[in-house]
């Protein structure tokens, strides 16, 4: 998918392919600007009008390709089958609408058969489920704290018990204690409702806590995908994944400084011919700049890199990366 602005075309997501099973949770991890949110918005078909365009590929939901679905069909899917939790709870709620009404609206849209009474009851249930007293449903968003607002956003997303929940950094705006609460709640819901979750984050901790599988996104591409175990405990990694791990402070080792990945993300307005990470990759060969990398797979753990064998990075000798 691309963003077309007056100035240039941004190739935000390129050839991403992954699947999420029922009741499974997939974590999408990567730097800011890697294209994680764009992936989610593409699935929701909520890319900004006239600017964001899906240029190719398929998004299959329960076997149907939703890229081909009309706007009207999409409206039926959104909130009903796929729903999304947005990044910033502060601005994601309508400031002049009672929160109860905002939750109820989803039911109104997708459960037309429900009576007013039933909807009210259901709304109350949902509120109670996310830990907000039902009697507060007549209050307005500004009367709630950040964590509560995020829970309301989650409640809106879950009201129709969707098949797939896209959670875009649901915890970033929250403080740590609330983060835990929210994640726990999501986990609980997954268990209880059998919802598939795509969790977008740049926080490894969150991924480790919640996700069954993890995809690492770099410059609009998936560079590595596998189970959480594969990623956190496995040996075979994409150099970018290694770099990411390297930039997390390790509490067990006494370190003087952090280990950032050198360099910047490639200019998204230029579509790379070869491996998009080649510019920053310490092991890059000439061929990496020329051709797209292979995919190598082992038990569902896929790594998109030409070279399977490269020296295990010595974490204390980051100098060598240069």
């Amino acid at each position: 998918m691309e963003y077309r602005t007056d100035d240039a075309t941004v190739y935000a997501v390129n050839g991403v392919s992954f699947n999420v099973g029922k009741g499974e949770s997939l974590g999408l991890i990567g730097e800011t600007g890697a294209g994680k949110t764009s992936i989610a918005l593409s699935i929701m078909r909520l890319l900004p009008d006239r600017i964001g365009v899906i240029t190719g590929g398929k998004i299959l939901l329960d076997g149907t390709d939703i890229t081909a679905a009309g706007e009207s069909a999409m409206c039926d899917i959104r909130g009903e089958k796929v729903s999304m939790i947005f990044q910033d709870p502060m601005t994601s709620l309508n400031p002049v609408m009672e929160v109860g009404d905002q939750i109820e609206e989803v039911l109104l849209l997708h459960r037309p058969e429900m009576t007013v009474e039933q909807r009210r009851k259901k709304t109350d249930e949902i509120l109670e489920m996310i830990g907000i007293p039902a009697e507060r449903k007549h209050e307005y968003p500004h009367q709630f704290s950040g964590g509560m607002k995020q829970r309301i956003v989650i409640a809106i997303a879950l009201a129709c018990e969707p098949m797939l929940l896209l959670a875009d950094e649901p915890t970033t705006a929250l403080d740590v204690t609330i983060q835990a609460q929210v994640l726990e709640m999501m986990n609980g819901l997954k268990e209880k409702l059998g919802t598939s979750i795509v969790l977008i984050t740049h926080d490894f901790g969150v991924v480790a806590q919640t996700c069954d599988r993890v995809a690492v996104i770099y410059a609009g591409e998936v560079v590595e995908i596998g189970t959480a175990y594969d990623l956190f405990e496995g040996e075979d990694h994409h150099p970018y994944t290694q770099g990411l791990f390297g930039s997390i402070p390790n509490m067990n080792v006494d370190e003087e400084r952090l280990h950032p990945i050198e360099g910047l993300m490639p200019d998204p307005t230029i579509l790379a011919k070869g491996c998009s990470f080649a510019d920053r990759c310490p092991y890059a060969q000439e061929v990496c700049f020329r051709e797209k990398p292979h995919c190598r797979e082992k038990n569902g753990h896929r790594v998109f890199c030409r070279f399977s064998k490269y020296p295990e990075a010595d974490r204390e000798e980051d100098v060598e990366y240069e």
Binding site: L46, S83, S92, P95, Y140
Partner: protein, 321 residues
């Protein structure tokens, strides 16, 4: 809230005092002796002098002003130099015409301007957006009397759809209201468009879309209400402006409104009439603004908390927003 309204009304007092003093002062600067204007050219100097004395025009400006204000506080806004009638009675006779004219103009502007503004924003850069922008520009690019005469020639003279002048029936108000609304209409389109553009980019709109709400519903139920808040303020302010700013339209269509009353009074040096009429317009304008602000709090729940704890939000601050 109650306290807030009271406070706002109290805050009107210094403004009204200021207005009255300013008008008194400006009027006293202008040449022309009211006594002479009343008596005409044949009156002898003694007659004029006697009348001046009777009208209290020989006292200093401050004394005259103080006398006027003390009377005004007791509810007597004075009598017109020209007609000898209680000013308040004349104002109340004239006000309904201006009120209807202003209401009509604001209604037209709101009823047509807001939907057009919404369409322009939703279909940004489409031909309809461009067209409405150009039309609104053109409407603000010509003086009102020109539009008034044009409409009169087209719709009253050639098509005979509406009467040309006067104010005695509903039909009489159609053309003047349209003429008067030109500016406000353009303003409404532009304000609605820009606030709407801002609102449809808000995150909560995306949330609403993610719920599966269709475009119409998202606009009607979500963006619109938020976008309308500033539009309402603008409409309220415009109403206040139109109350006193319809002079030209009133005189083209010969509607006996307050605007022409004030201008004639200025020309005839009728200080009590001018002062009282402008004070009246000021009070009405202030009250309309207050009503808008109060209604605002009921539309926008975020503001309510601000008002309940009466943190002074002055009128000017409101308007500037």
């Amino acid at each position: 809230m109650f306290k807030y309204i009271l406070k706002r009304l109290v805050m009107l007092i210094p403004i009204i005092l200021g207005i009255s003093f300013l008008i008194f002062f400006v009027m006293s600067l202008s040449p022309g002796d009211p006594a002479r204007i009343i008596l005409g050219e044949y009156a002898t100097q003694e007659d004029v002098e006697a009348l001046r004395e009777e009208m209290g025009l020989n006292d200093s400006l401050i004394v005259q002003y103080a006398r006027y204000i003390f009377k005004a506080i007791r509810g007597d806004l004075g009598t017109s130099y020209q007609t000898g009638q209680p000013v308040i009675r004349e104002i109340l006779e004239r006000f309904p015409f201006t009120f209807k004219l202003a209401i009509g103009a604001v209604m037209i502007a709101v009823v047509l301007g807001i939907p057009i503004g919404i369409i322009s924003a939703v279909k940004q850069y489409s031909w309809i957006d461009n067209l409405s922008m150009v039309v609104s520009m053109i409407l603000t690019s010509m003086p009102g009397f020109w539009y008034g005469l044009m409409l009169m020639i087209i719709f009253a003279l050639n098509l005979r759809w509406f009467p040309s002048t006067g104010a005695s029936s509903f039909k009489h108000y159609v053309l003047p209201c349209i003429t008067l609304s030109c500016n406000t209409f353009a303003l409404m389109i532009r304000t609605t468009r820009s606030t709407m553009l801002e609102e449809i980019r808000q995150d909560y709109v995306r949330t609403a879309k993610a719920k599966g709400a269709r475009a119409m519903r998202v606009i009607a139920k979500h963006s619109l209400r938020n976008a309308l808040l500033p539009v309402i303020t603008v409409a309220g302010m415009q109403f206040g402006i139109l109350l006193g700013g319809a002079v030209v339209i009133e005189s083209v269509f010969s509607i006996p409104g307050l605007g022409t009353y004030v201008v004639n009074a200025v020309k005839l040096k009728d200080t009590p009439s001018v002062t009282a009429a402008i004070m009246f317009i000021g009070v009405i304008g202030g009250v309309v603004n207050l009503i808008v602000d109060v209604l605002y709090t009921y539309i926008d729940p975020r503001l309510k908390s601000r008002y309940v704890k009466p943190k002074a939000v002055s009128r000017s601050e409101k308007e500037a927003a």
